[in-house]
C-alpha cells in the first residue's frame, strides 16, 4: 500500500515536471505585433485601415478593402522581426525591437509604404540560434512576411541568414556585427559596422589618441563576436607597433575572472581590451579593481547597455574611465539623432541605446528600399537596398560590395556614470 502511494507521487511529480518544461519552452514565445492603426480583431484592423485612409490624403483607398474584410493580408505589407525579448541579452533585443517598432509606427502614421500600412510581426528568440530559426520559419511559412528586420546578436543572425539566403528574403540585421552574417548571401544587409572595423579602429585609437604601447586582451573564446573583435584588434596592434603582452580567454558562463586578471596584472599592460558583452564586462571591470589592475579598459559596442540599472546596479561609477566603439553617442548634437532620441523617450519613457537607434535605422532603410523598389518583390527590394543612400540617426549609410555599411563610428568614454562622446572615426573604406 505504502509503496504504491510513493510510486504514484513520483509519477505525479514527473508529470508536473513535464508540464512545467512544456510551459517554459513554448509559453515564452510571446508575439508582439504592431497592428495597422489599431489592435483588435482582424476585421477591426481592416476597418481601422479604412478610417486611416479616409483621413490621410496621401494614401489611396483601395475599393476592395471595404468589402474584403476577411483577408486583411492583401491590405498590409507584412515585415517580420526577430529579437531576444527575454533571456540574457534581452536588453539588446528589447531596445532594437523598440527602435524598429517606433520606425514602423512613424511610417504608418505618415500613410505607410506603397499606399499600404505595414504590419510588423516580431517573435522572441531568447538569443538562441535554434529558437531564432524556428521563429524565422514561422514568419516565412505562416505569416508570409516579405522582408525581415533581425536578428539582433551575431550567433542567431548567422543562423537566420543561412535560411534567408535560401528564400532570397530581404534581410537587414540592425546590430549583428559579425562579418559572417552578410557573407551568407547578397540579400543579407546590416545597419551597423562590422566587428573587423570595431577591433581595428580601437587599435588605431589606442595608438593614436591614447598613445599607449602595451595592450592585453581578455575575451570570451566561445563567442564569435568577441573572437572577431580580438582578431581585428590584435592584427591592428601588430601593424601599429603596439605589443600585446598577453591574451587571456574565458568561457561563456564563467563568473570568476580574477585568475586571468591577476595574470594580466603580472604582464603589466597599459590598457586592457575587453571585447565582450556587458554582463561579463561589468564583472571583469569590478574584479580588476579588486586586484588593483588600474588601466583603461577598451571595448566594442557590447559595452553599450553596461550602465543600465539591471546591469551596473547601485555602484554607478564602477565602469568609469573605459572607452568603447559605438554606433552613436547620445550627446552628439546631430539633429536627426536628437529628434529620434526625443521621440523614443516619449514613446517608451526610457532613454534609447545604440541598439534602439540601429533598430530604427534598419526598419527605416527597409521601408525606403520597398518604396524605391515600388513593389514587394524580393529581388527588387534587394536591388534597392544595394544602391541605397540612406540618411539615418546613426549616420549616413551606403553599402560596400559585401553589403556592409560605410558609416561613422563614435568612441565613447564612460565618465561619471554616463556615456560621453570622446571622438568620431570613419569605418570602412
Amino acid at each position: 500500500m505504502r509503496k504504491s502511494k510513493t510510486k504514484k507521487s513520483v509519477s505525479v511529480l514527473l508529470v508536473l515536471m513535464a508540464i512545467i518544461m512544456l510551459l517554459t519552452s513554448c509559453g515564452k514565445t510571446e508575439t508582439k505585433t504592431t497592428e495597422p492603426a489599431a489592435d483588435g480583431t482582424e476585421a477591426d484592423a481592416a476597418v481601422a485601415t479604412d478610417a486611416a485612409a479616409e483621413t490621410d490624403a496621401a494614401a489611396e483607398t483601395d475599393g476592395a478593402a471595404e468589402t474584403d474584410g476577411e483577408t486583411p493580408a492583401g491590405d498590409t505589407i507584412k515585415i517580420g522581426g526577430l529579437a531576444p525579448l527575454t533571456g540574457p541579452v534581452s536588453v539588446y533585443g528589447i531596445a532594437a525591437d523598440n527602435g524598429a517598432q517606433l520606425a514602423i509606427k512613424e511610417v504608418n502614421a505618415n500613410g505607410g509604404v506603397l499606399g499600404k500600412q505595414i504590419e510588423y510581426i516580431v517573435y522572441d528568440e531568447k538569443g538562441e540560434p535554434v529558437e531564432a530559426t524556428n521563429a524565422y520559419n514561422r514568419l516565412v511559412n505562416e505569416d508570409k512576411v516579405i522582408a525581415l528586420i533581425g536578428d539582433v546578436t551575431s550567433g542567431p543572425s548567422i543562423a537566420v541568414a543561412q535560411r534567408a539566403v535560401l528564400d532570397n528574403l530581404p534581410m537587414i540585421t540592425p546590430t549583428g556585427t559579425s562579418a559572417d552574417i552578410t557573407a551568407q548571401g547578397p540579400n543579407v544587409f546590416r545597419a551597423c559596422f562590422i566587428d573587423e572595423n570595431q577591433g581595428s579602429l580601437m587599435g588605431t585609437f589606442m595608438a593614436e589618441n591614447l598613445k599607449l604601447k602595451k595592450a592585453a586582451v581578455l575575451y570570451d573564446v566561445s563567442d564569435p563576436y568577441a573572437q572577431g573583435l580580438n582578431d581585428a584588434f590584435t592584427a591592428k596592434c601588430k601593424d601599429l607597433g603596439i605589443e600585446v603582452v598577453t591574451t587571456e580567454i574565458y568561457n561563456a558562463g564563467d563568473t570568476d575572472f580574477k585568475t586571468q586578471l591577476t595574470k594580466i596584472l603580472a604582464a603589466e599592460p597599459e590598457a586592457l581590451y575587453v571585447p565582450n558583452y556587458y554582463n561579463d564586462n561589468i564583472m571583469i571591470v569590478r574584479q580588476a579593481k579588486q586586484i588593483g589592475l588600474d588601466v583603461p579598459f577598451l571595448g566594442g559596442d557590447g559595452w553599450d547597455g553596461i550602465l543600465s540599472e539591471n546591469v551596473i546596479g547601485a555602484d554607478k561609477n564602477d565602469a568609469d574611465g573605459s572607452y568603447f566603439t559605438n554606433h552613436y553617442a547620445a550627446d552628439d548634437p546631430a539633429e536627426k539623432l536628437q529628434n529620434f532620441l526625443a521621440a523614443y523617450r516619449e514613446e517608451y519613457g526610457v532613454e534609447a541605446i545604440s541598439f534602439s537607434a540601429l533598430g530604427y535605422d534598419a526598419a527605416m532603410m527597409m521601408v525606403q528600399a520597398i518604396e524605391t523598389a515600388g513593389s514587394t518583390d524580393s529581388a527588387a527590394i534587394v536591388d534597392a537596398l544595394k544602391n541605397i543612400e540612406y540618411e539615418g540617426v546613426t549616420g549616413d549609410i551606403t553599402f560596400d560590395e559585401n553589403n556592409n555599411p560605410i558609416k561613422t563610428v563614435s568612441i565613447i568614454l564612460i565618465k561619471d556614470g554616463a556615456y560621453t562622446l570622446f571622438t568620431k572615426m570613419k569605418s570602412g573604406e
Binding site: 591574451t247 570568476d256 579593481k289 579588486q290
Partner: protein, 296 residues
Amino acid sequence: MTYFMMQFLNGLQIGSIYALIALGYTMVYGIIKLINFAHGEIIMTAAYFIYFFMTKWQLSFLLSTVLATLLSVVIGVLIERIAYRRLRNASRLSALITAIAISLFLQTLYMILFTPDPRAFPMTATRFPVLKLGKIIFSSWTLITIVTAVIVMILLQLFVSRHKAGKAMLVVSEDLKGSYLMGIKVNRIVAMTFAIGSALAGIAAALYIVSYPQITPYMGSLPGIKAFIAAVLGGIGLIPGAMLGGFLLGLVETMTKAYMPSQLTQLSEGVVFIILILVLLLKPAGLLGKSESEKV
C-alpha cells in the same frame, strides 16, 4: 611569489564558497544517502531573497543575509518534508530523480516569477577597500569571504563534535535504522541536517553574490555542481572531506589557469576532472573516505 600569493588568495576565496556549499551536499548524503541536486537552487533562492530584502525593503546587507538564511532553512526543511521524506524507503534512484525534479522546478518557478533576465545585485565587492601587503594586492572582501567561511566551518565542527544533536546527526549517518531503535528521533535529525545545510548555502549565497553581483534563476547550478565535485573529491558523507575538497577544488582551478599557457585555460576544468578521476581510482571513497565493502 607575489603572483603565487595573489592567485592563492583567489583560489582560497572561490574554494571557501565551494566548501560551504559542499558541506550541504555531504551532510545530506551522509545521513540519507541522497545527492540533493536541489541544493544549488537553495543558493539561488537565497540570493533572490537578499536581493529583494535590500531593494524592496531597503534593509542592510547583513540583516538581509540573516533573514534570507532563515528563509533558506525553511525552504530546505520544506523540501525535505514534502519531497524526500516519503521516499526515505523508496529506491535511491527515485529519490535522486525527485531531487533533480525539485531543482528544475525551483529554476523554472523563479524563471516564471522573476523572468530569466539577470539582475544587478545592489552590493558589490568594489565597495570594500583594496588591501596591499607589500606587492600583494587583494580586496578586503576576499579576506572577509575566507574568514567567514572558516569561522562557519569551525562552528559546524564544534556543533557536530560537542552538541548532543550534532552527535545524534553523526550517529544517524552511521546507521539510520539502528538510530531508530536507539530512540533517536530520526525525522527530526534529518530535518535538522537539511536546515544546517540550507543555512550554509544561504551564507555561501551572500558571499558569492557580492563577488559576482548578478542574479539569475540558474545561477545556482554551476557552483552547485562544482561543490558536488568538491564533496566527492573529499569523500562524500564526511564533513572535513567537504571542507578539504572545496578548498582543493578552488585552488586547483585557479592554479591550473594561473600556470598554464593562456590559450589552454579552457582546459582547467578538464584538469579538475582528471584529478577527480585519479582520486576516485586510487581512493574510491574520496581523499578522506574510508572504503568499506558494501553488504549486499
